[in-house]
Amino acid sequence: MTDYIWLIPILPLISSITLMLGSAYLGRSVIATLGVGSVGLAAVLTGALAYNFLHAPEPIHVVYWTWMQVGQFDPSIAFYFDGLTLVMMSVITGVGFLIHLFSSEFMEHDNSYARYFAYLNMFVAAMLILVLADNLLLMYLGWEGVGTCSYLLVGFWYQHSANGRAARKAFIVTRIGDTAMAIGLLVLFTELGTLNIQDLVAAAQAKWQVGDVIPLLICVLLLAGAAGKSAQLPLHTWLPDAMAGPTPVSALIHAATMVTAGVYLIARTHGLFLLSPDAMTVVAVVGLLTSLVAAFTALAQHDIKRILAYSTISQIGYMFLALGVGAWTAGVFHLMTHAFFKALLFLGSGAIIHCLHHEHDIFKMGGLRSRMPVTFWSFLIGSAALAALPLTSGFFSKDLILLQAYQQANIGPLLWVGGLGGALLTAIYSFRLVFIVFFGHANTSPDREIGWRMAIPLILLCALSLIGGYFSLPVEKVFPIDDNQHPDQWVELVSISIPIFGVFLAYLLFLGRQLDPGFLIESASGRWLKQFWYSGWKIDRLYDLALVNPYYWIATIARNEPVDKFYQSIVITNQTLNAALSKMQTGRMRGYIVSMVIGLIGFLGLSLFFVAGAV
């Protein structure tokens, strides 16, 4: 029944290779059919797999061959498929297909149409390998694969050097986390002798007690890898710059799938994290801090894509918070709903940018409600889900996270309050976006309409964003069952009402203008604070000063080859002496004779002087 599971990652890979090799010979319609069709086929196969799995929910483990064998080390090319994998695969192929379809129109007039789909398909293949891998090494292959594709796609319009810089930044910053993760894998293998995830978790639980040091170390290293990929503090600075890529890429890679790989990693190895409550607290605190910092930053941005980027960082922070308090299901649930509504928002912003001559500044938009109705409704629904208004998908997942955070044993209520603050900010900035872009008077007029290939993904994602909260994830067998009590009624009421209050506040501030915070913004500290948030808490500047500039300084010194200076001086000395001495070779014989005579006289004089009593 499950013989075809290998087809799912292979199909996009074949399409990617075909597009790479045949880009010069294929027409645009063929390219689009290949690029979109391969992912669509993978989505259909995933659907069939899901149908089978939901009827017989047994994990599937398929071993294809041994990758390499060195002593005890024998990772295999093998897929492990369970409920968690199914959720991830559905998001990757399903949302991925919609984004591919959207791209086929969005990128229609780009010269590098084939290159775009080749990278995008390769990304899907790598991401599927990441989630299907049964051992951490194969997962690492996918992990690096998606990183490479992210680099290629962020720098897709490489003609502008700023895009290349953004791509390099994305690659290097995530590489820092990946290095930590690689060290974590090495420690795991040295300690446990296997990298197979299921064996490894079982061996770890047999070997270590809760609270031991080595699991803590491993978990922190894995967390660093996850934080790099998922743009969490302190490695989040690459994601806002990664918006230099095409907007559908931001939707697929930097909102729906790749950036959630860190969440998947922690959820997949939750057995290790359960051994180390300290590491889990760190995960929760990192998640909460990230979500708050990013939410404040999003509040001050002008660029529509940067707002969404910071909002992504903030929402992934919520997922980390959920993982950190042991609400595994809630975290993965939020991952899925976030994939729906954030892909929707990014595609919506892509539609706006597409129709407004590549305008990114929200203050130059305005009044788009009546002129771009599909986009308006998508944005409204997406923002409602992002703000967690009741009955949208985001509401269910975020509410679950907040309630479970409240019940965390040590600092639960604190996490809950922080999470509520983040939720309030989320509601404000998301509806600030809606009110400024779609209401008010128009500053620019759209020069084209979106076609069906852009409209259909938007409509389908709208539907998913609305009903996604009613899905029940087939992950009961993956995660330990929560036996939490239901918290007090008032906790739930507050959790629900805070986002509504946030939207109301946003209405008063940005649409009705009953509240005018002008005097606050214009004061000296207000302006400083605005600038501080706008620059992302000056973290980029801090890294520039602390890391990037010293590195450039060393590179500048090293570029002049300081070691070579020594050898160069030997050469220069010899050359100078040679030039001076060869001047004496005048070619005049009489000169030679004179110098010979003078030398002879000098020599004789000296020998007479030194030989005692000769004179």
Binding site: L581, G587, R590, I593
Partner: protein, 104 residues
């Protein structure tokens, strides 16, 4: 045998004087023929010193050396004149300052 009519010092002085004149000629003349001639003078000055010393100590070695120097001088002149002919053909001059192609 008998005392030398001329004291050795005088002979050596004359020899030194001749040598210096020859050396001066080598140093300041530009014509290669004159340089060769000056070298001959220097050689003969040496030969004179040998002959004088041989006479002073009553040894035949001085005169043996004189014969040897004479033959060496003849050989040297043969080679030297050959070179002079070549120089004349190549450079159309005997001025050694003109023939200075082997400069560094």
């Amino acid at each position: 045998m008998n005392e030398l009519a001329v004291p050795l010092n005088h002979l050596l002085f004359l020899s030194g004087l001749l040598f210096s004149i020859g050396m001066l000629g080598v140093m300041i003349r530009r014509n290669i023929i004159f340089i060769l001639m000056s070298i001959e003078v220097m050689l003969n000055a040496c030969a004179l010193a040998f002959v004088g010393a041989g006479a002073h100590w009553g040894q035949p070695d001085g005169q043996v050396m004189y014969v040897m120097i004479l033959s060496i001088a003849a050989a040297e002149v043969a080679v030297g004149l050959g070179l002079v002919l070549q120089i004349q053909r190549r450079f159309k001059t005997l001025d050694m300052d003109q023939a200075n192609r082997m400069r560094g």
